[in-house]
Symmetry: C2
Subunit: 314 residues, 2 copies
């Protein structure tokens, strides 16, 4: 058994197709066939059920693939250990970011980061929370930035910052006159929410639930961007909630419609998330440092008493 053979098994398991898998691991299809046969011979067990189309894993095969993932990950980490020792910061790094964080956070740290660590080839992908969890688990992402906690046993979270929510309330709304809002004032039926891989939405829903027991409320609408929400809100369709960093982009004429909360200020916890196997830890560390550094200037609420709605699920 070699690590190479395990790589081959993983490729075939993923693509369910020898030819495609062969391309991905940069060998010809016969090589793949033979090496997998050799491994199956050595273990004296069938890993793949070739009678099925597309090809399928046998029961043992599934377990072997799980274990092979472990081994491949662990073996990748050896180069990692060496890199860390040498202080080498480089290589490909795949980072996932949820849509509601991407546009505000990315411009803040990206150019700084690439200047500081030019050898790191950052590949950034906009993904919803579910996709992030999946891709972190199967190794398609090295790290991600999302609202936390995710309560995933297999993942580790490192909070980067707490982003307060700010209420956007159109002039004729019942709450338009209150200078400082209380969380208790919110009515879930009255808030326009964003569909955002559930994480942002859930955050606010939980926030409301903690004060009003709403079981199965129907939401008026779920939009894809805050821009839309603000416009709908202006059409008197209700108020909405914006993460603080998004309010900075708002046109001046709408800035007056923003109402901040009294303490404890509701906020979302934004974290750097990565696999428990801690691959490429040295890059994750410098990424965290980069982001924390830049965010300190932008979010000045670090010391105020905030509540993170998702935290209450723990």
């Amino acid at each position: 058994m070699t690590i190479t053979q395990l790589h081959y098994v993983l490729a075939v398991a993923e693509y369910q197709n020898f030819t495609k898998a062969a391309q991905k691991v940069f060998v010809t299809q016969p090589t793949l066939s033979m090496q997998i046969q050799k491994l199956e011979e050595e273990l004296e067990v069938q890993i793949f059920d070739r009678s099925k189309k597309p090809i399928e894993l046998t029961e043992v095969g599934k377990k072997i693939v799980e274990q092979a993932k472990n081994i491949v990950n662990e073996s990748d980490r050896i180069q990692d250990i060496v890199d860390q020792q040498k202080g080498f910061i480089g290589g490909e790094f795949k980072l996932g970011i949820i849509p509601t964080i991407m546009p505000t956070l990315l411009p803040m740290f990206l150019s700084n980061f690439t200047k500081a660590y030019p050898k790191v080839k950052l590949k950034i992908e906009e993904l919803h929370t579910e996709a992030i969890i999946e891709k972190l688990n199967d190794g398609h992402l090295d790290a991600a930035i999302a609202a936390t906690p995710l309560q995933q046993e297999s993942l580790k979270e490192r909070p980067l910052y707490y982003e307060p929510f700010v209420a956007y309330i159109p002039p004729n709304h019942r709450l338009a006159q209150s200078k400082e809002l209380k969380v208790e004032d919110l009515d879930i039926d009255d808030i326009l929410l964003l569909e955002d891989g559930h994480c942002f939405k859930e955050g606010i829903i939980n926030l409301c639930k903690t004060h009003k027991k709403i079981e199965d409320t129907k939401f008026h609408l779920e939009s894809g961007s805050f821009e839309t929400l603000v416009k709908l809100s202006n059409e008197e369709l209700g108020m909405t909630l914006l993460p603080y960093l998004h309010t900075l982009d708002l046109q001046p004429k709408y800035q007056n419609n923003l109402h901040s909360f009294e303490e404890p200020v509701p906020a979302r916890e934004v974290s750097l998330i990565f696999n428990k196997s801690e691959l490429k830890m040295q890059i994750i560390n410098v990424l965290e440092k980069s982001i924390s550094g830049v965010i300190k200037g932008a979010i000045t609420f670090q010391n105020v008493n905030i509540i993170s709605p998702l935290k209450q699920k723990v």
Copy 2:
């Protein structure tokens, strides 16, 4: 990087000598030298410091060895998965047992076990608790039987049975007349103890400590066998404590000196211990079944209220 190379690294790290390591992995010394050089080239780092005699690991080398152990263990587990699937129970199995359990437990299950699982080549070694912990961690043992809990993060424990302690009190002792003893009656200064890799000793010490705060008592004596303890006890040097199974071997004329405890009966927890990596789990499972089966007949205290002294450390 291949798994074979990692095996070689581990062998050299263990023996600190290429020649001896080569013998252990059944290749010639030049092969070992070359393969390790190749790996060092590939990683672009020195794993061994060859200027030292005997050869030493570099700082990175130590980390690499730790990781290599992981990988080798995890890769061994693949064959394990296959064996488990096939219901194959066999292969070499190295079991460590502490001295105070060995003579009583081993005869009870060994012949049964070897009959039931003839393909398992059991290699049993008598070891003290410290040696057991070390050898379980570095893979020189597959499992062990000792008094628990050990509170070792890296090891798993499965209690096999609770063996009550019985007091052996010579005729002229102050407690000789009491039919049923209470734990509170014990005086640590008055008990002859066995040096047994600390586990048995600690068990009793803790037991006493829970009732009398004794900080740094000097023990009169620490012997190597219960036989000696009983003889010393007969010489009026104090009472002693015996694990229940050992009292069965006592000569009839001494049986009268045995005093059992009132409930809760003090006892030692005897467990099957193995590495968290759960290698050879199928053998560990049948071993547990074998021992549990045979012990049910010997220890009939299963239902009485017992206290395990070591438990209190948790």
